[in-house]
């Protein structure tokens, strides 16, 4: 009788632990420096934006050389998406969903250009060039002066016209209301 109790007590901690045998711990720990080089995510409030700067004048030249063939003159659209122009009213019969009328965050422009554009040579633009192209796209939408310098601070603070235009369906809407 006592033997059974002892066996039960011996096994108790294993059951109490709850999840049975654990999965193997084979992950190799990364140093903070390694993580820095891997983390490409630019957050909606500007987290992750690199040092550097650019303006729309520099960006226009770059855009005409590297982006216009897909996105059209002044970003009016082509095989690639429309980036600027059109009518701001999204309730129209044929709404223009572009950066100025639709995109809720300016940081997304930088993040997306840096990681994916131009499609024939992703990750070929320097951070200064990405700031410049982003500045030009924002300028085309009337959101940044032609000569204004765009950097991490300016971009993180820029509020897009359609910032409040989204309804979170399956994610907590609170998460859309973080600091500006």
């Amino acid at each position: 009788m006592y033997n059974y109790i002892i066996i039960f007590v011996l096994f108790l901690p294993i059951f109490a632990y709850g999840e049975g045998p654990s999965a193997p711990a084979l992950g190799h720990e990364l140093s903070p420096e390694q993580v820095r080089s891997l983390d490409t995510i630019i957050g909606p409030s500007g987290s992750g934006l690199p040092p550097g700067a650019g303006n729309a004048a520099v960006g226009a030249a770059l855009f005409n050389r590297r982006c216009q063939s897909c996105h059209g003159r002044a970003g009016r659209g082509g095989q690639g998406g429309e980036l600027a122009g059109g009518h701001p009213d999204l309730t129209r019969a044929s709404p223009d969903q572009n950066v100025g009328t639709y995109w809720p965050y300016a940081t997304t422009v930088f993040d997306f250009v840096r990681r994916a554009m131009p499609m024939d040579a992703p990750w070929s633009l320097t951070d200064d060039e990405v700031y410049a192209v982003t500045a030009y796209i924002l300028h085309l939408n009337g959101l940044l002066d032609a000569t204004a310098e765009l950097n991490a601070q300016v971009l993180g603070r820029l509020r897009m016209p359609n910032r409040g235009g989204f309804i979170g369906i399956e994610a907590d809407p609170q998460l859309l209301r973080h600091q500006r």
């Binding site: 999204l90 309804i167 399956e170 998460l175």
Partner: protein
């Protein structure tokens, strides 16, 4: 379209308008066998003369990896890609050519944003960093040592069936309209094992996944989902992932829109907030008539379509046909599929093939006697949460015509008296301007 003939002494009674028959008809009817008559045996010459050529010579040798029959080579994905960026586009799964519920690996739909990366598995790593106690890196050899889980589930592109928003019904085969959905058995490592090993910090709410393609594709997934049932998938239908399905490792996010199932998975950043990446803000959001837009619409709604007979098929003769199709829901199991042959005036319940698994294709079937009359065939799915596939007019009334994503309305196939099958709309919808959306609404 093959004609199904049955020998039946009975004259089965319709269960709904326009010739729909009871789904149990073939389950209950007994097959009749003719008894062999006693005649003298056939001579060698007679038998040989009746044999086909392939029985008189040895067949082909073994193959290391099988191929489809040369007579089935027309069963292919249909590719639509960007002229300037051939790796940006889609390929539709030919659902109208398939039966059962498992999509063959070579016919699973594709959506690539900038091509299929040629990844060396020996160099590929998966990382977890951000709001974790220890940032970790796993190579493939390590991942392959973790306990695995297998799940049968569909993956559907959020933009599947988007031609349904157009004011005129598109005329293409069913798969080339609705085939941005496929179903496989996926096997891999439950994501929670790796997340628990890294140790989540308080305030961690989102997982931002990134692919190792030339698009560095990123999306944000609520951590609750990641910890619940997501997998790092390594195998599809028993074999290692194909390059176009994310080799060597992809995310599997059961029941949620396809874009979240990041292929060529490279890193996962744990964060208190979503990335607000391009593909969760400017795309994969749905503009409503009032100018606001739905965002983070993750779960794929209940949906079904008849795959046979379907658009571009031709009923060669009157008589019995089996109406068959697929139903699925990101919320769980399909519990009911109703079929109409008269454009929704009357409905009959279809038979559902076992197994009916949550977030998985379910195959439905119902017999139909076509007498050469005009018919409009429709299917309507209900899932275990009680959600019902909406009529097209109801969906458009709720969402307008510019949402692009998450189109799950009832599909209507019109059968003409000459047997030709076309896509049609049965519901009267006030036509605004011609919808000018393309199949790919993308850069």
């Amino acid at each position: 379209m093959t004609r199904k003939s049955i020998i039946s002494e009975s004259n089965p009674r319709p269960v709904a308008g326009n010739g729909l028959l009871d789904r149990r008809l073939f389950l209950t009817s007994a097959a009749a066998f003719a008894s062999a008559s006693a005649l003298p045996g056939t001579s060698h010459a007679e038998v040989r003369a009746a044999l086909e050529a392939w029985q008189k010579v040895p067949g082909l040798p073994f193959s290391n990896y099988g191929r489809v029959s040369p007579h089935e080579r027309q069963v292919i994905r249909w590719i639509v890609a960007n002229d300037l960026v051939p790796g940006n586009g889609i390929s539709w799964s030919p659902l109208h050519e398939l039966d059962g519920t498992i999509t063959p690996n070579g016919l699973h739909y594709e959506r690539h944003h900038n091509g299929i990366p040629e990844i060396d598995p020996a160099a590929h790593k998966v990382r977890v960093f951000g709001a974790v106690r220890r940032a970790l890196e796993f190579d493939l050899a390590a991942l392959l040592r973790y306990p695995r889980h297998s799940t049968l589930c569909f993956i559907e592109c959020g933009g599947n069936s988007n031609a349904g928003w157009r004011s005129n019904p598109v005329q293409v085969a069913a798969g080339y309209f609705h085939g941005l959905v496929s179903c496989s058995e996926w096997t891999g490592v439950p994501l929670r094992y790796l997340l628990k090993e890294a140790g989540l910090e308080s305030g961690a709410r989102w997982l931002i996944a990134e692919g190792a393609d030339a698009f560095s594709m990123t999306v944000s997934i609520p951590l609750d989902k990641a910890l619940d049932d997501c997998l790092l998938a390594l195998f599809q239908n028993g074999e290692r992932l194909r390059p176009e399905q994310g080799y060597p490792v992809r995310l599997l996010v059961p029941g949620w829109e396809g874009v979240l199932n990041v292929k060529w998975l490279k890193s996962m950043k744990i964060s208190s907030e979503p990335a607000m990446a391009r593909n969760e803000t400017s795309k994969y959001t749905e503009l409503l008539p009032d100018g606001r837009a739905r965002m983070f619409t993750f779960t794929m709604q209940p949906k079904s379509l008849i795959t046979s007979p379907s658009a571009e098929m031709h009923l060669e003769a009157t008589g019995f046909y089996e109406i068959s199709g697929l139903a699925w829901s990101g919320y769980g199991r399909i519990t009911r599929v109703e079929i109409s042959a008269d454009g929704g005036l009357s409905w009959a319940e279809a038979a559902l093939n076992e197994p009916m698994l949550p977030r998985c294709f379910t195959r439905f079937r119902i017999p139909w006697h076509w007498r050469g009359q005009k018919a409009v065939l429709q299917s309507r799915a209900t899932d275990e949460t009680g959600r019902v596939q909406p009529a097209r007019a109801a969906l458009i009334a709720e969402r307008g015509r510019h949402g692009y994503y998450h189109y799950n309305a009832i599909v209507s196939w019109a059968v003409a008296s000459d047997g030709r099958v076309r896509h049609t709309y049965v519901d009267a919808v006030p036509v605004e301007t011609e919808f000018d959306g393309l199949f790919i609404n993308d850069d």
